[in-house]
């Protein structure tokens, strides 16, 4: 651990830029979710405002080009695939059964392109809305891929953010999707990953953010969705997950983990109750998760990775503690619903082409 009193900005930024250069073969499991990992790296550089410093104009241009190459159309619609891990060397952009867009990758790719300040002129918005329709299941949930795969609240959240980014909800049967979210509510006050599941920090964030993102429908308004005894129970459970260590656990009676500081803390912020977090002890916990050579780990003494690094910085940006004159902790404002800095969110709003009227 470095000096736990300061935020080791340089170390965290280099950890992320090193990952963008390449990952060791031991990381092969992230290949089928590579854009998500890239999002954590670019997001870290975005929060730390180091993207311009750590990359050249040419890098950024070729990265954008790489991203657009992952946007792929198929009879199921258009979306981003995780990487070229299934793309044959001689490919000519032709679709195949196994080469389709993936909801999590589509969401994170849109944010990455906003971080890279792309103009989105290549975006196939109609195709993306079509992909959402292809992924929605009879129970209202979404699969990650139009050809199947697991469906749970993570995919619901991605479908909702994509609709919100495109400012068009016609790709979703909203009432149906909202009913699915309700079914994931647990007696503890958090949401499980899928119906009947144990209350879990990550998917509680997905549920709360989705409920906050969705526009009013004739049978469901934002105000009534996040209200009443269920809301009070959710707040109680989230607050209770802040453990003696200062960090949040993802489930009752589990140990704290840096990622749950984000999932639980950001869910509270969305509910308008971010103030209820003890941000001083939260910051102390995260400060102690810093790895001496850069990056942030899930718990003190563990190895860092882009996921925990990004989410730790993101919650520090959402719930800043008072650090007096210490400027190292000063971070830009973050939009807790999209999980992007306000500047990047602003860029997305301004540059993702508007719905054709």
């Amino acid at each position: 651990m470095g000096d736990p009193r300061t935020l080791a900005r340089g170390g965290h930024a280099s950890h992320s830029s090193r990952c963008l250069i390449g990952l060791p073969s031991s990381q092969v499991e992230v290949d089928p979710s590579r854009i998500a990992v890239i999002f954590y790296c670019l997001g870290t550089m975005d929060i730390l405002s180091t993207l311009q410093l750590q990359s050249g104009e040419q890098d950024r241009e070729s990265w954008k080009e790489w991203f657009w190459e992952q946007q792929i159309s198929s009879p199921y619609g258009t979306g981003f695939r995780p990487s070229t891990y299934m793309t044959p060397e001689d490919h000519h952009g032709e679709p195949s059964e196994y080469n389709t867009g993936h909801l999590v990758m589509t969401y994170t790719a849109l944010l990455c392109l906003s971080i890279l300040r792309d103009d989105f002129s290549n975006l196939d918005r109609r195709g993306i809305l079509h992909l959402l329709r292809s992924c929605q299941q009879p129970d209202g949930s979404f699969t990650a891929l139009p050809t199947g795969g697991e469906s749970d609240l993570r995919m619901t959240y991605c479908a909702f953010v994509i609709s919100s980014l495109l400012d068009d909800w016609s790709g979703i049967d909203l009432d149906h999707a909202l009913a699915y979210i309700d079914k994931c509510y647990s007696y503890e006050g958090g949401y499980g990953q899928s119906p009947f599941g144990e209350a879990l920090g990550g998917t509680t964030y997905c549920a709360v953010a989705s409920l906050g993102l969705a526009p009013d429908t004739p049978t469901s308004s934002r105000a009534t969705r996040l209200a009443g005894v269920n809301r009070a129970r959710t707040i109680r459970w989230l607050v209770q997950n802040q453990t003696e260590s200062g960090g949040f656990s993802g489930r009752t009676n589990k140990l704290a983990d840096a990622c749950y500081c984000f999932w639980c803390g950001a869910a509270l912020a969305i509910l308008g109750e971010g103030d209820l977090v003890n941000e001083r002890t939260l910051t102390e916990f995260l400060a102690n998760c810093q790895f001496k050579f850069g990056g942030i780990a899930k718990a003190p003494g563990e190895r860092p990775d882009p996921y925990h690094t990004y989410l730790s910085l993101a919650i520090l940006a959402i719930l800043p503690a008072d650090h007096g004159n210490d400027e190292t902790w000063k971070l830009p404002r973050l939009n807790p619903l999209w999980n992007a800095t306000e500047d990047t969110a602003q860029w997305a709003r301004a540059h993702i082409p508007a719905k054709a009227s």
Partner: protein, 329 residues
């Protein structure tokens, strides 16, 4: 290690296809030779649409190196179905793979697909036994629990599947009374998944569950899982919190009561218990808030105690409760 498929005559007729890479890929992975070799041949068989016994071997090879390779899983499932290979054999292989890669989504998804295709309660019952061995090593594994809950709902057989669940949870809680996954599972079995055989008398079921939770609280008073279960059972059945006031009160005192009287409905904290118990104070305040009127002041008093002394970590939350209650009053 040089057992590359490129050197294997069995694969001589397949044209391996390398992975496409842009001139400047972002976060590329420096694959091992074995992985490159296997995925080159995998892209090759996907291109020709081959589904054969050797494709099963190949997808297994890829999956063992990268269990998150969802395309290998998709193609494997298609091949298993097309060849009509024994699904039991497939499950047996999956037992080993699941144990190795417990935290990979795809492992469990594939299992669901196989069980759905098998469509047999016998197989589902065997799954519950297998899952028990998995949970022995990782008693809170989220994927394993989700899958267990799916098996129960999907095959929905009272006698052969559901009947063993409550005793199983009790076994797990004997080992670790703080295992929230086990508590959650109990709630799922008793309340949220429907009415189990023998549980038709809901009042009696509730009484049994309240006794169970109280007993476990008496054993370890500062166990949030048990308190959350108690709350959940009351709220789910629309039973006022005031019905358990007599049970909760002794846990809010600084010392265990000096009495030999045993009240089976209201087990007392054990002699060495750390008191007062924060969860009990919170509960009592909720009882007072529920009663309202003059009792609100008593709730506020408890919240102040929690904020300033007993649970200072959550000071702002307890102050929020005070504001909220006074606003409503």
């Amino acid at each position: 290690m040089s057992d590359l498929l490129a050197d294997d005559s069995e694969w001589a007729d397949v044209v391996p296809i390398r992975q496409y890479e842009n001139v400047n890929p972002i976060a590329p992975i420096f694959y091992s030779e074995e992985y490159k070799d296997a995925t080159d041949y995998f892209r090759g068989v996907v291109k020709t649409g081959e589904m054969s016994p050797r494709v099963l071997k190949l997808t297994e090879r890829v999956i063992r190196m990268n269990p998150a390779h969802y395309t290998a899983w998709q193609h494997r499932y298609k091949t298993v179905m097309a060849l009509q290979v024994s699904l039991e054999d497939e499950l047996e292989l999956m037992d080993e793979i699941a144990t190795m890669f417990l935290k990979t989504y795809q492992v469990w998804h594939h299992r669901r697909l196989i069980l759905t295709a098998l469509n047999s309660v016998d197989a589902a019952a065997r799954e519950l036994v297998f899952l028990k061995t998995v949970l022995e090593n990782d008693s809170k594994n989220y994927h394993t629990w989700s899958y267990r809950q799916w098996i129960l709902v999907h095959f929905n057989d009272e006698e052969r599947l559901w009947a063993g669940e409550r005793p199983y949870v009790e076994e797990l809680l004997e080992e670790d009374v703080r295992n929230n996954s086990a508590w959650h599972h109990r709630f799922f079995v008793v309340f949220s998944s429907g009415v189990r055989a023998g549980d038709e008398d809901r009042e009696q079921t509730l009484r049994r569950e309240l006794s169970f939770a109280k007993e476990k609280i008496a054993l370890a008073p500062n166990n949030l899982s048990a308190w959350n279960y108690l709350r959940g059972a009351l709220e789910h059945t629309h039973t006022p919190f005031t019905t358990v006031t007599a049970f909760v009160e002794p846990y809010t005192a600084s010392e265990p009561p000096a009495t030999d009287v045993v009240d089976l409905d209201n087990p007392l904290p054990s002699a060495g218990a750390q008191l007062p118990c924060v969860a009990a104070l919170e509960f009592l305040a909720d009882i007072y808030e529920e009663e309202g009127g003059e009792k609100t002041a008593k709730a506020v008093e408890i919240w102040k105690l929690l904020a300033n002394e007993k649970d200072t970590m959550r000071k702002k939350y307890w102050e929020h409760r005070i504001r909220d209650a006074l606003q409503k009053a």
